[in-house]
Symmetry: D2
Subunit: 307 residues, 4 copies
């Protein structure tokens, strides 16, 4: 059997790679990194990768808009799995470097923003320099490029680039977490697990005030809870949006199916981006009258009165 | 071919009989009157009549609660037609009676309430006496019972009982109209005409505040307009209601079917009381995304993404 | 100090009189009966009575539409108290009458409808005859008019007319209750008790589909629960309604005040019909953010940001 | 009179500077650039600048999350004006450079993403290199740093750095526009112009499903339209958001005041970020019953019935 090939937002040693390694089967797969989220998803679209692991949102930074915009344009893609990765920053350097030696710290701008307090307290005199990614700062040190004395990156980066970890958990928010998703070409949807999430993109038909309220009402009236909703510009003009939505449940659920059908009716377009097991395993609270059984009974009743 | 047999809220000469005569085929049918609405509907339930013509609501008096309560209890019945009858009251008496001779006027309490201004202006000294129905006052005069000098009743009553009409349109509200319905045992529903009405009774599941709002939302979100909604006590306790509802459209319409299915899911019980052509022939305004075509397209889309 | 004068829906011995006697101070007042609800309220409007005790709704029969319609037309009136009276029917006759002697039973049509099972079981051969009120049947027996052998009426009627009670609780629904209200000319509203009810009539501005939904939303969004809402025809045409509404709380409550103001903005007319203590003493459930304190804090905040 | 001092997202020659120059009085003011949005707003908070001009959203890229997050944290700030600036990219180089000479083009990543089609068509062999800002690429060329042959930046950058414009409107989306806002320390709000916008941040109280729907309903029920709503993480955990909202109207408007008061009641916190004239001058559509006059009439009515 041919092995799988998964790409991720690289380079090697990123949080994305760390997240990917949590996907069952990833350890036996080929794992070529991609430079950007669009590049990773393009590999999937072209079939040069079976899947791509990319970040979707972060509890501190919010949505990864590049990822959201990729789902909303180009060939459709499906999310088939999600990974919640605690954002555990480590300070790393070449072997032999001591904390006192550090004059420059390299890392990605987002990481720098999330480690400022620690840096101010422990390395008050170090200059913060920016790199294209956290892993790239680590790579640069390992390559002896002389740009940084130390890097802030995922612990995995120290492992990948042979660096020494000088301090762990240097982030200011120790509960920070990033949600990554595994993205594939559309195919049969895996059956419900009982604790699922579904992602869609919806383009509102008439761009009238109240359109978002209508959209939310279609979910609420059928007892479908949303765990995330974000507006993204369509590019046409200010105030013209599409919505990226995560809802609790599976496309096979009657309530969710009817809610998405309703969206399809009232929207210009709805794009299904996958139903997949929630990483936190939390089942939805199901409101009275919205179980599959209730829908089936109602449909049977309707058929009987229609005669 | 055996002829039809329709009963109505009698006695002969009532507005109900006048309304029944507007039903196609009624003139060739046997038309036994019933004394009360429950008695008329009981004939239908037992099969001793093919249909019953009973009042449902009046533009001045409101709902006919006896009729509503009959739909909500006992064996289910279906409305198959409706008639809108202008309430045109006539003053009638035995041949030879002049306006000046009239000392007593008999009629039904509702009719008396609706003709007070005319009576005060034209027969200021006449006593108003109550009868069991407008037609019964006419009948009594014809029978020479000596209870009333004149009766206020439907023009048809004069015809039926051989009385002379002394004045027409003696009602204070010349636009008053009563809506009658033809009721039959449940059977196949006639196909949509494009301007239909559907009647249901719904028993709310949890008697919580906001339950009515939820019920209305199920219709509104699917673009189904209600033309009448009335609460009726269930008899259990104050504040415990069921709802009698008329909505625009036909049970065969996708939007109405889905709305009633939703009611079936969130209510303790929903009773379908018929889909039938509107007497006024007014088609519904159909909101974007709620046509049968939109529902079919959404269902096809859902099937495709479910795979 | 001059004593009070309260009228009620008579004649003497009705359930309305029984309810009136529960009003504090009624026993020391003059209590002239009225023949009809409109007549009773007219006495209040003209000042020939200080108050009138009339039925508003019954757990079996529903709203008393005559009363609702009186509130919606004519000079405004205020409800200042409510009484919940269990509908306890008694069978009564002249002294010496035995159950076996009873060939005819007189009572009001509503009472007759509510005692049919008992009558069928215990007096299967007795004829049911109708009277203008339950008390009038009792009066007729006491007067020796010979119309009925027995009457079904409130126990108070036996007392008032010197009849013997042959059986109590002859109603088929032993939990039946009627809600009566004491009505006065508008005046200062009594302060909140913490368990209050407020009655209003609202005429919807545009008679469009969804108008009722909008009206309910104005209450719901401010956490005001409705305990009763009924549509009544305006008389203009079928489908044109005003709404009679009971809501939990007092006009002095911030949430209720804002909700009624909202109704005033979106309706053609809103008529305030009184805030008064609930007979059941049940306080409202107050949703987060809808206390008077929350409204005051929000207003203070708004004033501060408005500068 | 001392002159004003406004900072902006620099360096000199950015779109932000171009936008700032459209603010009345800016040409006579001192205009020190800031390196980042947080730095610019910090100058305002500390009083070293009277105002800061920063981007809030872009019709192609969406919200500027750094700006949104600054409004939601730290000392409150008020928006006092907005500028809509068409995003008109120009290709510029040192005098004497011809299109055919260009091997490398420097610009900001967002600008690069928005000019790819033009670059592919007209400079298919040029390498795209990234700079910290569009203006910085222009500056680098003027400084002779040798990093880029040409820069893509705002036309103003060519002026500021003495470069030659080789091509204008090189963006792929010619309708792209950025919305900038002028931010000041809180002070008295300028009176309504009739075409105003108000910005707030709201932290939902209970993080329950349906909380966003409730929040939107508070606006909708009072006829206040939203022109933008965006969720931003609070940093506490995934799925915990605050909302950045632009609504039509002015804090002095009765409907908007009541809506924001309602938000204050149901939210943990609401932060007012200013009412200011809309750059497009478009007045709101005012729904029946939501004018200041309607609110004043309702309040007067309420006061009268409260007595």
């Amino acid at each position: 059997m041919s092995s799988q090939r998964y790409t991720y937002l690289g380079p090697e040693g990123t949080f994305a790679e760390a997240a990917l390694l949590r996907i069952p089967g990833a350890k036996d797969a080929e794992l070529p990194p991609s430079q950007t989220v669009p590049a990773a998803l393009e590999m999937v679209r072209r079939g040069t990768a079976d899947g791509a692991l990319v970040p979707l949102e972060n509890s501190v930074e919010g949505a990864v808009t590049t990822t959201l915009d990729e789902f909303a344009s180009g060939e459709p893609l499906h999310i088939t799995a999600e990974v919640l990765l605690p954002v555990s920053f480590a300070l790393m350097a070449a072997a032999g470097t001591e904390l006192d030696d550090i004059r420059t710290v390299g890392t990605h701008p987002h990481a720098e923003a999330q480690c400022r307090k620690w840096l101010a307290a422990r390395l008050p005199r170090a200059k913060h320099l920016l790199s294209a990614s956290t892993a790239d700062a680590a790579r640069s040190i390992a390559a002896g490029e002389g740009r940084f004395d130390a890097a802030i990156a995922a612990p995995l980066a120290a492992e990948r680039y042979g660096l020494t970890v000088l301090a762990t958990d240097v982030g200011d928010n120790l509960t920070a977490v990033t949600r990554f998703v595994l993205v594939r070409r559309p195919g049969p949807v895996a059956p419900p697990t009982g604790a699922d999430r579904t992602t869609v993109v919806a383009w509102i038909a008439d761009d009238h005030p109240g359109a978002l309220l209508e959209l939310l009402t279609e979910f609420a009236v059928r007892g479908v809870n949303l765990s995330r909703i974000e507006s993204r510009p369509t590019g046409e003009r200010l105030g013209h949006y599409c919505f990226s939505i995560d809802c609790e449940g599976h496309i096979a659920d009657a309530r969710l199916g009817e809610a998405l059908s309703a969206l399809h009716r009232i929207c210009d377009e709805v794009r299904f981006c996958g139903s997949y097991a929630r990483a936190d395993g939390q089942p939805p609270q199901i409101r009275r009258g919205t179980t599959d059984g209730a829908f089936a009974a109602a449909e049977a009743w309707l058929a009987s009165v229609r005669g």
